[in-house]
């Protein structure tokens, strides 16, 4: 309990890391719901990795062009990484979604290749970058340690924007995801809403990767959603409970990691995995019990 109180204290040294990971934990599942429902789970794996390659490329640019970033303001490195992450995410999701819609070739193969090549490329680039090596390699491994007030504000504003768009336009986003044909007959702008959906996914992924790294971003995009899908009775329950599971797990994960001096990212993801396993087992037991009761009653 002592650690718990320490983490919640406004003077806690790593408070920005706690706030950021909890924000990401709450928001990522809201976007992940659409990744899972649109059966784009593999994209949820590949996208954070491609986004982190964007970070690596962006941070390598000054070195390649002989520019010293520290001479260009306090936040220039972070902004450059943000641009790299966002541009790579958006291009990747638009290209992958276009190929998905054309329905040709093997989508899993494309996504698998994109994932593994981008993972290797980002490590390769950052290992040769004398400016960014230490901090950014930590980020890729999921170590959320150094988050400045500026990083936290940027994350907060960006995620609030995502939350607002998801909340205001949930009808349209759900309709084009669930039944495109109906959306067309109701004269909705299907391509526009698809683009909004993909931009939201790309934007959230890039923000999450920049804040907590690809490992945690992937974990929070998918695992809470897959967990809650087992028992959710309607869309409202599905989205809200997924978000709560993500947010609470990120906080508890941080607490455990801090208590036992473990890396935060892997702790969060393993905790989500444990939650999934427990819920899946419980769901299986309840279902078997209900079936048995129905059989006995009939």
């Amino acid at each position: 309990m002592e650690t718990f109180r320490e983490i919640l204290s406004p003077d806690f040294l790593l408070r920005n890391s706690v706030y950021t990971s909890v924000l990401v934990g709450f928001i990522c599942p809201l976007v992940g719901v659409y990744l899972v429902l649109r059966r784009l789970v593999f994209m949820g794996v590949a996208l954070p990795q491609i986004s982190s390659t964007g970070v690596a490329v962006a941070l390598s640019l000054p070195m390649w062009f002989g520019v010293n970033l520290s001479e260009h303001g306090e936040h220039s490195e972070h902004l450059l990484a943000f641009v790299g992450s966002t541009v790579f995410s958006l291009i990747a999701i638009l290209v992958l979604a276009l190929m998905e819609r054309r329905g040709r070739g093997l989508p899993e193969g494309r996504l698998g290749t994109a994932y593994v090549v981008s993972a290797a490329l980002s490590i390769l680039l950052l290992s040769k970058n004398r400016f960014g090596e230490a901090g950014w390699l930590d980020l890729l491994k999921g170590e959320i340690i150094t988050i400045s007030n500026f990083d936290l504000e940027l994350t907060g504003i960006a995620l609030a924007l995502v939350l607002a768009v998801l909340g205001i336009f949930h009808k349209e986003l759900l309709l084009v995801s669930f039944d495109r044909a109906l959306a067309v007959t109701l004269r909705k702008k299907v391509v526009f809403w698809d683009a909004v959906m993909y931009l939201l996914i790309g934007f959230t992924v890039s923000i999450a990767v920049l804040s907590v790294g690809p490992l945690i971003a992937f974990g929070f995009l998918l695992i809470p959603v897959l967990t809650v899908r087992l028992f959710a009775r309607n869309m409202r329950q599905f989205t809200i409970v997924s978000s709560i599971v993500g947010g609470v797990a990120s906080f508890v994960g941080f607490w455990i990691a801090y208590q036992w001096d473990w890396p935060v990212g892997p702790t969060d993801v393993v905790l989500l995995g444990v939650i999934f396993a427990v819920v899946w087992t419980g769901h299986g037991i309840v279902r078997t019990f209900k079936k048995q009761q129905t059989r006995e009653a009939s």
Binding site: L37, K171, L174, S177, F178, A181, V184, T185, R229, N234
Partner: protein, 233 residues
């Protein structure tokens, strides 16, 4: 002769610029009950998708009288069971055409959806998960959704596929009833000739790249069908 709601003039339908059927010329009267018949792969669904605007025509002309509102009833198997939506949630989508992007759903629209579910006798299971409903129950919810759109034209794509005989009978009786009561134009895609004979007035028959169009009483006689299929009776 009733006013024409839809006129096709030399219409070519298909995918990616390749026509699967060419030169379709026909008209559908307002408030008529028309069945679209044909074997698998004959182009029934492509024609339906073209009429609904889901698939652009490859060529020719398609003209509507005014801007009719469509109530579309797809095959329930086309809808992903992964979505945790209740029957009510699915039916509610029918009113989205009247709601502006970002606008909250007004109470009266929700009440109207309840009425539509009652009209299709789907209110008893509307709170259950859509994915857990039987074939007949899903079709009732989807018809309620189509009615919630306040349609001029009700378009049904094989609504009795995967539905047992009793439920099929009840569904078609219901569709005939709303056709009579609300003067809706009905376009029904089906394989079921006895149902077409019993309920439809007009037939669009897609057969080996040709389109036959006419009243049921003329097109579905044993002699005419023998002629179409080139068999002796």
């Amino acid at each position: 002769m009733s006013e024409s709601l839809l006129t096709l003039n030399n219409l070519d339908i298909g995918y990616d610029g390749h026509a699967v059927m060419s030169g379709i010329t026909l008209s559908v009267a307002r408030s008529s009950f028309t069945a679209i018949l044909g074997t698998n792969g004959s182009g029934k669904s492509t024609l339906l998708k073209t009429l609904l605007g889901i698939q652009p025509p490859v060529g020719g002309e398609m003209r509507f009288a005014g801007e009719p509102v469509f109530g579309y009833v797809p095959q329930s198997v086309e809808l992903d069971t992964l979505y945790p939506l209740t029957g009510f949630d699915v039916a509610l989508m029918g009113v989205y055409g009247r709601i502006r992007a970002g606008q909250l759903l007004p109470r009266h629209e929700q009440d109207f959806v309840h009425e539509c579910l009652k009209a299709t006798a789907a209110d008893g299971f509307a709170r259950k998960k859509f994915s857990q409903l039987s074939g007949g129950q899903k079709q009732r919810v989807l018809i309620a959704r189509a009615l919630a759109a306040k349609p001029d034209v009700l378009v049904l794509d094989e609504p009795t596929a995967g539905v047992d005989a009793a439920a099929t009978h009840a569904l078609l009786e219901f569709i005939s009833q709303i056709h009579r009561e609300r003067r809706l134009t009905i376009l029904l895609v089906t394989h079921d000739l006895p149902l077409v004979r019993r309920h439809a007035q007009q037939v669009i028959w897609l057969h080996e790249g040709k389109v036959l169009h006419g009243p049921v009483s003329e097109l579905l006689t044993p002699e005419r069908m023998a002629e179409i299929f080139e068999i002796e009776i």
